[in-house]
C-alpha cells in the first residue's frame, strides 16, 4: 500500500522529546503500538468509562439513538470480525459511501481496529469521482447503502478488480453484496485489536489536484496523538463535553474532528444524519445542550441570512466554544455570532494534508475577526516566496505562500502512488500549502487566496481538471475551462466555460443538458452551477487553457502576465 517517504517527518514515532512529548500522555499506546481505534474507544472501556455516552445519533426522521463507548467498541469489534471473516487482512483498503449513520462510525473504527486502511467518501459524489477514488485507492471493501449502490456503484463494480466485498447497511443486500446488519449480529464482539505501529497507514483521504487525478493523502495511526492534542488545544474538548461537529466524515474534518479527536478526548458527540436545516440545528443545540460546536462558513452564512430574530427564539446558553473551518470566515460572521450566540465563531485553518488544525483562533486567545488565528503550539508556520528553486521567508505584512515545518504526527506521509507529486510539496525543509496568506505583527495569519487553480466551494476543494474531464465527455463539448467565482453563500461556485463541437448550437437547452450530464457524473457538490459558451478559450502556447485569465476577466481584475497567451478567448 502506501509508499513511505523520508522527505516528511522522520521520527514522529519517537515520542521521547520535542513538542509532542507531553502529548504522548494523552494516549495509551500499549507496548509501543498505536491503533486509533484503541485510543478512541477501547482504552476508555478498559479504564471504566464504557458506560459514558459516546454518541447521540439523530436520524432524519426524528429517531434518537444513544451509543456508549462500550456500544461503539462492540460495534467496531464486530465490524472488524466481519472484514476478517471475508478474508480481508491487515493493510487492506476499506471504503465507505454512506450518509451519517451509526454504521459509518462502526466501519471507521472497525477498519482501524483490524489494522486496515479506511477511506470515507462523500455520499453526494457522483459515480465518476467515486470510481476514480476507489481505483486509485485499490479498494478491497466498500460499505454503502442499497440506493447508493444501485445508483452509483452497481454499473461498474466488476471493473474494480481489487474489490472483494461490498457491505450494505441494513438487513438486506442486492445480489453479490453482504447485508451488514445480520453479519454484524452474527460476528464475535471479541476481536483483538491489531497492534499497528505508529507509522502504519490508517486513513486515506482524497483531495483534488489542479491537474491530474485526485490525490490519496495517507495518514498513519500516530496521527491520533495530534488529534488528541489539537482536540483539547484548539476545540476545548474535555471528557464529557457535548460536542457537535457538523462536517461529514466524507471530508477530512468529519473524520479528524468528527470521529477521532472527539472520541480520543472522550466527549459525547452529536451526529445528525440530516443536512443543514436552520431550525433543526438551533433546536438541536438548545435541546442537547451543545457545548462545543464546530461548523463551516457556508452554514454560518446561511444562519446569518435568516437573521437574528429566529435565533432569538432559542436558548444557546450551553455553548462554550464555537469554531469554524473550511474557508475563511468573514469578519461580519464572527461579529454576528458573538451577538446571536453570545460567543464568536473561532476560525481555524488546516488541510487534508496536515491531518489536523495548524492555525487557530484558540480558546482563551483574542479572536481577530477575519483572521485564521495563530500557529498552534508546536507548529512552525511562515510566509514564504519561491525564488530560483529556493524559499525566502517573508516578513510580517507581506503576502506569500503559507508554509509549515513538517514533523507533527498527523502530517501526511504520502500521496498514494504519486511520489513526485508528494515531493513537490516540500522545499528547503518546509511543506508548501498552496494557500496564499499574510501574517500580521501579532502572529495572526490572514488568508489571501489559492496559489493554484483549485476551487473552494462550500468549504471543499474542487479540482478544475476533474470537472473539465467530465464536461468534455459530453458529445457537444470540445474544450472546457473551469474556475471558481465568488458567491455569497458558498464562498465560491464552480463555473465552466466550454467550446462546442461542430454541429451543436449554443442554447439554453444545451446548457442544461451539459449541466445535467456533469451533475450525473460528478454530483451537485462538484458539478458546475453555471456553464457558458465560448467560440475559443484563452490558451498558452503549449495548449493549456488559461483558467487564471478566465477568472481575472470574470472578476474584472488585472490580467497579469499574458506573455504565454497564444490564442485568446472569443
Amino acid at each position: 500500500m502506501a509508499k513511505r517517504n523520508t522527505v516528511g517527518p522522520a521520527s514522529v514515532g519517537d515520542f521521547g522529546s520535542g513538542p509532542w512529548a507531553a502529548a504522548r500522555d494523552l494516549i495509551d499506546a500499549p507496548a509501543g503500538s498505536v491503533n486509533i481505534a484503541h485510543e478512541a474507544v477501547d482504552r476508555h472501556v478498559l479504564s471504566g468509562h464504557g458506560g459514558d455516552r459516546a454518541m447521540l445519533w439523530l436520524g432524519k426522521d426524528g429517531t434518537r439513538r444513544d451509543l456508549s463507548y462500550a456500544d461503539l467498541a462492540d460495534a467496531a469489534a464486530r465490524f472488524a470480525a466481519v472484514l476478517a471473516a471475508h478474508g480481508l487482512t491487515t493493510g487492506d483498503s476499506v471504503f465507505s459511501l454512506t450518509g451519517r449513520v451509526p454504521e459509518l462510525y462502526a466501519a471507521a473504527l472497525g477498519t482501524l481496529k483490524a489494522g486496515m486502511v479506511f477511506t470515507p467518501l462523500f455520499s453526494a459524489f457522483g459515480p465518476e469521482p467515486i470510481r476514480t477514488r476507489m481505483e486509485i485507492g485499490a479498494a478491497n471493501a466498500l460499505v454503502t447503502t442499497v440506493p447508493l449502490y444501485k445508483r452509483k456503484i452497481a454499473p461498474w463494480r466488476d471493473q474494480i478488480p481489487s474489490l472483494k466485498l461490498i457491505l450494505i447497511v441494513g438487513d438486506e443486500a442486492p445480489e453479490g453484496c453482504v447485508a451488514l446488519g445480520p453479519a454484524m449480529a452474527a460476528a464475535s464482539p471479541d476481536f483483538e485489536t491489531v497492534r499497528t505501529g505508529p507509522e502504519d497507514p490508517a486513513l486515506v483521504h482524497f483531495t483534488s489536484g489542479t491537474t491530474g487525478k485526485p490525490k490519496g493523502v495517507v495518514h498513519v495511526h500516530n496521527a491520533v496523538l495530534y488529534h488528541a492534542f489539537s482536540g483539547c488545544e484548539a476545540l476545548d474538548l474535555t471528557p464529557g463535553t457535548v460536542y457537535w461537529c457538523t462536517a461529514d466524515p466524507g471530508w477530512v474534518t468529519g473524520t479528524s474532528y468528527g470521529i477521532v479527536a472527539p472520541l480520543v478526548n472522550r466527549v459525547m458527540m452529536i451526529v445528525d444524519e440530516a443536512e443543514f436545516d436552520l431550525e433543526r440545528w438551533y433546536a438541536t443545540v438548545e435541546r442537547e445542550r451543545v457545548e462545543v460546536w464546530y461548523s463551516a462558513p457556508t452554514a454560518i452564512r446561511m444562519m446569518m441570512r435568516s437573521g437574528a430574530e429566529i435565533a432569538d427564539r432559542y436558548d444557546f446558553s450551553s455553548l462554550r466554544f464555537l469554531a469554524s473551518v473550511g474557508e475563511p470566515l468573514n469578519p461580519e460572521a464572527v461579529v454576528w455570532s458573538e451577538k446571536v450566540f453570545g460567543r464568536p465563531f473561532h476560525d481555524n485553518w488546516w488541510q487534508t494534508e496536515t491531518g489536523g488544525i495548524m492555525i487557530a483562533n484558540r480558546p482563551g486567545s483574542t479572536v481577530k475577526p477575519g483572521s485564521m488565528g495563530q500557529a498552534m503550539p508546536g507548529i512552525e508556520a511562515a510566509i514564504v516566496e519561491r525564488t530560483d528553486g529556493h524559499l525566502r521567508t517573508l516578513g510580517d505584512g507581506e503576502v506569500g505562500e503559507l508554509a509549515l515545518r513538517p514533523g507533527w504526527p498527523s502530517m501526511m506521509r504520502a500521496y498514494l502512488h504519486e511520489q513526485a507529486r508528494y515531493d513537490k510539496c516540500f522545499l528547503d525543509g518546509w511543506y508548501l500549502s498552496g494557500d496564499l496568506a499574510m501574517r500580521d505583527g501579532d502572529g495572526y495569519f490572514w488568508f489571501v487566496g489559492r496559489a493554484d487553480d483549485l476551487i473552494k466551494t462550500s468549504g471543499h476543494l474542487v479540482g478544475p481538471f476533474e470537472v473539465e474531464s467530465a464536461l468534455i465527455e459530453h458529445d457537444a463539448v470540445a474544450e472546457a475551462g473551469v474556475i471558481g467565482i465568488p458567491d455569497e453563500a458558498a464562498g465560491e461556485i464552480v463555473k465552466a466555460y466550454v467550446t462546442l463541437n461542430p454541429g451543436f448550437t449554443a442554447d439554453e437547452a444545451l446548457e442544461r443538458d451539459i449541466r445535467g450530464h456533469a451533475r450525473k457524473r460528478l454530483g451537485p457538490a462538484v458539478a458546475p452551477r453555471a456553464v457558458v459558451f465560448r467560440n475559443t478559450l484563452p490558451k498558452t502556447r503549449s495548449g493549456k487553457i488559461m483558467r487564471r485569465l478566465l477568472k481575472a476577466r470574470e472578476l474584472g481584475l488585472p490580467e497579469g502576465d499574458i506573455s504565454t497567451l497564444e490564442s485568446d478567448e472569443t
Partner: protein, 83 residues
C-alpha cells in the same frame, strides 16, 4: 395562478437548477434533497428562482415546506404565488 400552474413552475425551476432530474421522474412525495439529490446550494437557488418567478418570499425556517412537490404546491399557493 392555479395549483397546476404553481406545480408546473416548481417543476420547471427545479429541473433548471438540477437538469440531471427529468420532470417525469419527480414523485409527489420525493424529498428534493434525500430523494432527488439536491444539495443545500441547490435549495438556496431554488428559493431564489421561486421568489423571482412567483413573487413568493420563502423564509429560511420554511425551507422544509418546499421539500416535496406535495408540500410545496399548497404552501406556495397559500403564500399567494403568482398573484
Amino acid at each position: 395562478m392555479t395549483q397546476d400552474d404553481i406545480r408546473t413552475a416548481f417543476i420547471e425551476e427545479l429541473t433548471k437548477i438540477a437538469p440531471d432530474i427529468a420532470a417525469e421522474d419527480i414523485g409527489e412525495t420525493d424529498h428534493i434533497q434525500d430523494d432527488l439529490g439536491l444539495d443545500s446550494m441547490d435549495v438556496l437557488n431554488l428559493v431564489t428562482a421561486l421568489h423571482q418567478r412567483l413573487g413568493v418570499d420563502i423564509p429560511e425556517p420554511d425551507y422544509p415546506r418546499i421539500a416535496t412537490l406535495s408540500d410545496a404546491v399548497p404552501y406556495l399557493a397559500a403564500k399567494g404565488a403568482g398573484s
